[in-house]
Symmetry: C2
Subunit: 199 residues, 2 copies
DNA sequence: GTCTATAGCATGATAGAC
DNA sequence: GTCTATCATGCTATAGAC
């Protein structure tokens, strides 16, 4: 692998991937700026200088973390929607996939995407915005379908934004060791947005 | 003012306050870690060394920014609730005060509170948590009253958390130069949470 | 592919003059 | 109360050996 090929999109089980996963946890816990390349090296058993064989800059690691977080969540959501039988099930999938990704064991990456945006250079933003838009388009389509079916209120663009805000914020208060499971939380959040059916 | 008195809670029109307001904007735009004491000095026409006459550390400035943001919003909400005539008006005040504070001209401070929490040392957290709890208690009381009146769904603790998440997230997408005013946005967000009355 | 060593620079904070 | 000067440290990234 030459220096010019460092932007290779994805490789499982590689050193690069191992590094990205470790970086996701460190960036989430300490923040990107407070995490040094020495911290990153320690986390995977490398000297700080050796990192720069795998990534050109520290920011390139941050971008890789974010891209991983958003694109893996998008893929999960696409699969869940494809498998859903009804509009109601698709709506439910939005909540379950998002929360399991955000609050699940292996998904510090998505959290980093939400809270370290300011550290992304202008040059790197367009690519990440594309990934984010693809994810939000999935949401929009399902919400539009649900509104047409009378399940949720018709102001779906604002609804999408408020719901995503609600879900994102859960990382600030949800505790895994509490009594509320992630899936139960998803169901209760869904209940809050469903229009009550008058008979 | 001696060194020992640097924790004086509040002073209007002081150099300290001027610095806190400038710091709020810088911390919001660049992040706390990326903002240097030299940046802070420049913003108020001081050399970096001179800052440390007013604050012992850079973190002390961050804490002051957050305390200002949350406590001034709390005071505004207290006044608005006291003035409200009905439960419905109190509910409306939650949205209008929060969004005007968060998205208004002079309130970068509240945004910093939301996004720089990780940079706060353990020693400084309890005081800020106290301020936050006071604010959220106001919300909880109004939501409980609104649920009792049938205006919103009864799961008010989760409702409080999802609503605050929705409102916080608005800083990520709301544009002041757009067609939607802050107060109109508050009304539409309120509409999304109100239970539709069956006749 | 990883190491050691370090260049080159920015950082938060302090000391003492005024 | 602000300035100048600077200390001590930490940072990202590079160079070259292995």
């Amino acid at each position: 692998m030459t220096t010019l090929e460092k932007n290779t999109p994805l490789e499982e089980n590689s050193r690069r991937m191992e590094l990205v996963r470790a970086a996701a946890k460190l960036f989430r816990d300490q923040g990107y700026e407070r995490t040094t390349v020495r911290d990153l090296g320690n986390a995977v058993g490398l000297q700080s200088g050796s990192l720069f064989y795998h990534f050109r800059t520290k920011e390139e690691i941050l971008v890789a973390v974010m891209a991983l977080g958003i694109s893996s969540t998008t893929e999960q959501l696409e699969r869940a929607i494809a498998k859903a039988g009804s509009t109601r099930e698709k709506l439910s999938a939005l909540f379950h996939v998002h929360l399991n990704s955000l609050l699940g064991d292996n998904q510090a990456a998505l959290e980093v995407m939400l809270y370290e945006w300011r550290s992304i250079s202008e040059a790197a933003k367009p690519g990440l915005i594309l990934l984010r838009d693809r994810y939000e388009a999935l949401w929009q389509a399902v919400l539009d379908e649900a509104a047409a079916a009378g399940l949720v209120k018709p102001d779906t663009r604002l609804l999408r934004r408020t719901l995503l805000g609600s879900l994102h914020w859960s990382v600030q208060w949800y505790r895994k060791d509490g009594e509320l499971s992630v899936d139960k939380l998803a169901d209760r959040m869904l209940d809050l947005v469903l229009i009550e059916q008058s008979k």
